[in-house]
């Protein structure tokens, strides 16, 4: 129905051997960065595209892009592995191409078209200590139209994986913690907005995306280092939040628009923003300019890149700051008061609209930060926030709708659960595990972990 998503992969856990697998070769990256802003018009394809529009309701946007297989050979101990021969064949056994990995361990093979391919690597060329995982040296992959299909050979070097389940479990736990804290950073705003206005904001994912993309433009296009770029983006994100509130939600509240109607409006806004972002930014994944080629540091039972560590630390610091703000500051108390009872808060002299405005600004800034952290681990994509939205909802619901601390606890649980679930289910189905958790929790404890029972209607 709609076009195929142009994403390289899911969020989250990567064992050390997978680091950087989705990053295109360096030459490609610059090409893409150029293409991303304004794609050239391919007139010849246009006529065909019109014809296709009639056959399929929504034509594939990516028909202008060639199919290829990309990947990186590296492990945390060996670093990038250069000079390994990669061979690609069609499903029928016809040779397509064979290339060697570059100094960053990367490879890219252009394909004649979408379809099934078999890709294999020369096992003998691997350095000492590095071995293939259980899946062997050959991969069967399906490449969709216009897609850069990442291939992961799952190399092991004894630093992890070889020790068996316990080490992998610890690794996933740490990854899950990072991911969960990241979800929490994004979801606190969602929860506070729900608490203060009653709005279930389905456009919150787009706040995350917009933030991440603004930071990307400042960082990659503007050449500003990522940290100041993030801070600038957070300010812009806060402004976007404020714009949401002043431009849409406050007028709607004034009009007396019902909450269900507002919910549908937020869905409309989400659609509008998401696809507008795709038009402006394009359907590609792009990494930030900094901190990309970090090697994982070995901590004994698990490995972690410094940027992942920084992500955890930043998340914790920010979340503690938010908690302190809610508990100690005047505006934080006012937020809780408005969330508890808006009329009562208003009659006690609290400027409710101002409080809600601050909540939106805070939500926008936090979503931006979460988006940058997500972009740092998973690259920047046009629908990254929307995909995260479901996990945010899972976290917020798990913790109890509308409770700020519940959002925090619930998000961390969702993050850890989603990552840990890959111990038993395939990696591409891990979101489904999060969803199942949500449903199970709703059956057992509908008010969420921290919600109070009395509030359930």
């Amino acid at each position: 129905m709609t076009h195929a998503p142009h994403r390289a992969r899911e969020h989250g856990a990567r064992s050390s051997a997978e680091q950087g697998q989705g990053a295109p070769p360096r030459g490609l990256r610059t090409w893409r960065a150029w293409r991303t802003g304004r794609r050239p018009l391919v007139l010849a394809l246009l006529v065909a595209a019109i014809a296709m529009a009639l056959a399929t309701l929504v034509p594939g946007v990516a028909s202008a892009e060639g199919e290829r297989l990309v990947g990186t050979l590296q492990t945390s101990r060996s670093g990038p592995i250069e000079g390994v021969e990669i061979t690609v064949e069609t499903a029928d056994g016809d040779a397509v191409d064979s290339v060697e990995t570059d100094e960053d361990g990367r490879f890219a093979v252009d394909l004649p078209g979408p379809g099934q391919y078999s890709i294999s690597l020369d096992e003998d060329a691997l350095p000492e200590g590095v071995e293939l995982g259980t899946a062997g040296a050959t991969r069967e992959v399906t490449v969709d139209l216009g897609r850069s299909q990442p291939v992961n050979f799952g190399l092991v070097d004894g630093s992890s994986g070889a020790g068996g389940g316990t080490v992998r479990a610890v690794q996933l736990l740490v990854d899950g913690l990072r991911f969960g804290l990241l979800i929490a950073v994004c979801a606190v705003g969602l929860s506070l907005i729900f608490g203060t206005t009653g709005l279930t904001n389905f456009a919150h994912g787009e706040l995350v995306t917009i933030g991440a993309i603004i930071a990307w433009y400042i960082n990659v296009r503007g050449g500003v280092p990522l940290i100041p770029a993030t801070i600038i983006a957070m300010v812009v994100g806060a402004a976007v939040g404020a714009l949401n509130e002043r431009g849409i939600w406050r007028p709607l509240r004034k009009r007396g628009t019902g909450l269900i109607a507002a919910l549908v409006v937020s869905i409309g806004l989400s659609l509008l923003l998401r696809y507008a972002i795709q038009i402006v930014y394009g359907g590609f994944s792009n990494p930030y300019g900094d901190y990309q080629s970090q090697r994982a540091v070995n901590y004994g039972v698990f490995t972690m890149t410094n940027r992942a560590l920084a992500s955890i630390v930043i998340s914790i610091v920010v979340l503690v700051a938010v908690a302190l703000m809610l508990q100690r500051t005047k505006i934080g108390k006012a937020m809780r008061a408005v969330a508890d009872n808006r009329d009562l808060a208003a009659s006690s002299g609290i400027d409710v609209n101002r409080v809600i405005l601050v909540v939106w600004m805070m939500g926008g800034a936090l979503a931006t930060l979460g988006g940058v952290l997500l972009g740092l681990s998973d690259q920047v994509q046009w629908d990254m926030g929307f995909r995260l939205l479901l996990l945010m909802f899972a976290g917020v619901t798990l913790g109890g709708l509308g409770t700020a601390y519940g959002a925090l606890v619930g998000s961390v649980i969702v993050g850890v659960f989603v990552q840990m679930s890959t111990l038993v289910i395939p990696d591409d189905m891990k979101y489904v595990g999060g969803l199942l958790l949500l449903i199970v929790i709703l059956v057992i404890r509908p008010q969420g972990i921290l919600g109070s029972r009395a509030r359930i209607g």
Binding site: A337, D340, D343
Partner: protein, 344 residues
């Protein structure tokens, strides 16, 4: 005043009777006064056994967080009488209503209706046993017409089953009978002219009337009215009171929550006073104003911060106090950002 002679008649008779009874300081045993007569000689003490109890509660408690909203050791409600439930704001009256009708689940306790345990039943099962309620905030179904609202109250409708709904032949006759019954009731409540209007267009008082009429469509045995007079303009109050008394004439047991003491004195046969979740006194209406516990409860309540009606509002008041204080950094219940109902 109702135009329907029968309604007016009984109503007028009721008022006169009360006036007369008050003057004479005794009760006449008119047929409609059976309950009052039966209750006449009971001691005015909490938990007293009634001669013919329809509803019996035992050890019912309900807590929200650390707050005890309801804690009733023993309470009996006389069949065929009008029992008024009064108490200061936050006394747990509405919570008790919610528990009795299955809208809320207690932490402990049992209660029964006609000897049947109601403890584990859901709201619709309670209603099907003949215990119907109205709500403090009127729940007129706005985008249904007045007549549709009424028809909804009828029980045992064949056409309400999914498969039979597809075969109009099965339910058409019953629907017609229900419509006639609904029109009779609407006439009695003087809403018949509005039968095709959306219920959302009615005035507040008319909605209260509609809600009561709709409850009567189910031929209930017990009618529980949560503040039937709240927000009703004075012109309609008398008419509503008349209708409540009519329920008793028809043999129904009425339990109602009310704040206006004049109304309570006017129509109740028995009054139960609650404060802080407990029953602190019960007796005939005239006994209540003499009861020291009641006076204390009401005066005590006035010393508190101004509270609104429901028990949960006490939690909200804590937050308000906290905002006023500004410096206290810790709090139990208000640490959780939560809203349901309040901001919606």
């Amino acid at each position: 005043m109702p135009a329907d002679p029968s309604a007016q008649g009984s109503h007028a008779a009721g008022s006169e009777e009360i006036a007369a009874a008050r003057q004479a300081g005794q009760h006449r045993a008119a047929p409609q006064r059976l309950a009052q007569a039966a209750l006449k000689d009971l001691p005015w003490e909490v938990g007293v056994a009634k001669p013919d109890a329809a509803v019996v509660l035992d050890g019912v408690t309900r807590t929200f967080g650390g707050l005890t909203a309801v804690s009733v050791d023993h309470l009996e409600i006389q069949r065929g009488g009008i029992t008024g439930l009064i108490g200061p704001n936050g006394a747990g009256k509405t919570t008790l209503f919610n528990l009795l009708t299955g809208f809320d689940q207690p932490n402990t306790g049992t209660w029964s209706f006609d000897g049947r345990d109601l403890g584990k039943l859901s709201p619709h099962q309670v209603a099907r046993l003949g215990v119907v309620r109205t709500f403090q905030l009127t729940k007129a179904l706005s985008r249904l017409t007045v007549l549709q609202n009424m028809l909804l109250g009828a029980q045992g409708q064949r056409g309400e089953s999914f498969l039979r709904a597809l075969l109009p032949g099965i339910w058409r006759a019953q629907e017609k009978a229900n419509t006639e019954k609904a029109m009779d009731l609407l006439q009695r409540f003087k809403l018949d002219a509005k039968k095709d209007d959306f219920a959302g267009t009615l005035s507040g008082g008319q909605r209260k009337l509609l809600e009561m009429a709709r409850a009567l469509m189910s031929d209930p045995k017990v009618v529980m009215l949560d503040e039937p007079m709240a927000g009703v303009n004075p012109a309609l109050t008398q008419s509503l009171l008349g209708h409540v008394k009519d329920l008793r004439e028809e043999g129904m047991t009425v339990i109602f929550v009310e704040h206006d003491m004049d109304v309570v004195r006017d129509i109740s046969d028995w009054v139960v006073v609650m404060a802080a979740g407990k029953v602190i006194a019960e007796g005939p209406p005239e006994s209540i104003s003499q009861n020291q516990a009641v006076v204390d409860a009401y005066l005590g309540a006035h010393h508190d911060a101004p509270l609104t009606v429901e028990e949960e509002d006490r939690v909200l008041a804590e937050v308000q106090a906290e905002i006023a204080l500004e410096e206290s950094g810790t709090s139990s219940s208000s640490g959780v950002i939560n809203s349901e109902g309040t901001s919606r």
